[in-house]
């Protein structure tokens, strides 16, 4: 598994309208927790959508687990959480999870396990629409955990969560990574960068830096990831 990319992106081009969001992006995502950081609108979500195969692309290739992204053979092995909590507001937490468990063909006793992992056991009987925003996004995350994915793609999963829960979720991401999954987490909050095994700093559709948090800071000669990002942007502009 060393060095073997779980996901490989090469020469990826995505255009939306007459705007080119990604222009020939090359990238490999391997095991461990990889943080994809960059400002809103820099192409993080587009890249993630391409990895799970729901983004229309205009060039290049995306390979996941040795198959084209989104092909029938890999769809069951990839977990995906969008920014919007993609669950049914008019179903209870338990009903949502049991539905997705049937779609994914996992035994329904997995439902209790993932509910415990996202700390929603007590809310299992509550209708999702009546939960708080943070609770809803945890329901969405629980769905992605139902079938232990080999690639877990999480688009800003910790937005709006309280610090204690954020801590718990990052621990969970690392547990999943320790079990062999590749976890790709996006965030526009730079302080989450320190929690990743590997960082990808992204801006305007391009990867500015790629390495461990320590290496990224060191190469920019600064001591926070945020400062490294600024230094890279300024260095690029000059």
């Amino acid at each position: 598994m060393s060095g073997s990319g779980v996901a490989r992106v090469s020469g990826l081009v995505v255009r939306r309208g007459d705007r080119t969001v990604l222009d020939g992006l090359d990238l490999e995502v391997g095991p461990g927790v990889t943080g994809l950081l960059g400002p809103s609108g820099c192409g993080k979500s587009t890249l993630m959508r391409a990895l799970v195969g729901v983004q229309r692309t205009h060039g290049g290739s995306v390979t996941v687990l040795d198959h084209p992204a989104g092909s029938a053979r890999v769809r069951a092995r990839v977990g995906y959480v969008t920014q919007a909590a993609s669950v049914y507001d008019d179903l209870t937490v338990g009903e949502n999870l049991r539905f997705f468990a049937r779609v994914l063909d996992v035994p329904t006793d997995r439902v209790d396990r993932v509910l415990a992992e996202v700390d929603l056991t007590d809310q299992a009987g509550d209708v999702v629409g009546r939960l708080s925003g943070g609770q809803r996004s945890r329901v969405s995350l629980a769905v992605a955990l139902l079938r232990r994915p080999e690639l877990l793609v999480l688009d800003e999963p910790t937005v709006g969560l309280d610090p204690v829960l954020r801590e718990d979720l990052w621990r969970l991401f690392h547990e999943l990574a320790d079990d062999g999954a590749a976890v790709l987490v996006s965030s526009h909050v730079m302080d989450e960068a320190e929690r990743c095994d590997r960082l990808l700093l992204m801006r305007e559709g391009a990867i500015l830096a790629d390495g461990t948090p320590a290496a990224v800071k060191e190469s920019a000669g600064v001591d926070t990831v945020e400062a490294a990002f600024l230094a890279l942007v300024r260095g690029e502009a000059s």
């Binding site: 990839v78 993609s86 779609v103």
Partner: protein, 250 residues
Amino acid sequence: MSPRILLAVTVRVLTQLRRDHRTLAMLLVLPTALIALLWWVFSGDATGSAFDRVGPALLAIFPFTVMFLVTSVTTLRERSSGTLERLLSMPTGRLDLLGGYALAFALVAMVQSTVAVAVSVGLLGLEVDGSLVLLGLVAVVDGVLGCALGLFVSAFATTEFQAVQFMPLVVIPQLLVCGLFVPRDALPSVLGAISDLMPLSYAVDAMGALTAGGPGSGSGGSVGADLAVVAGFAVAALALGAVTLRRRTP
């Protein structure tokens, strides 16, 4: 296609409906209530034949319209909530999803039609010339047609507001030429040809043939053919819906 996923979608849609009392009432009670209202409107008619003439057409029109309206909006909700994208990033086949919806609404159409036929025949005195079971079957297939067309058009709408606008575009023209207002064979020839291309016309024909006073009554032999045409349109609309449902979106 996966029967497991299809059934999971069906159970889920029915669970959502069960929780949404207003929609459930609209699906199950409204068609019958409208038919009863019309019976009342015509109750002053001295000849007593007006309701017998339009009743059968209404048994076809109301389930069709209500199902169209509800499905065109429900699937759009699935799209805007992000659950559609999530399902399509899972092993869900497009036909699993559409088939699951169609089956769920077919079951609802069955209950809806049973109520509508029971009230029309039992309480309002609509005279049936053929088998009650066949009458119910036509109503169910007709409801499924409405559902399939609703699923199809929802692919072309990006908001619920746009989806609702398909109703005057898709449903009302069919209503005008289906034989409710003017018997189909008395329509101007161009409109008659258009009427022949509209699926609702065949549902209304079948209903008419199965009831005593309706348009085309007595031509009981063609019910099977009419039913097949309606079912064919429903299957075609579902297939087109699957084609227009894109896994990858811009």
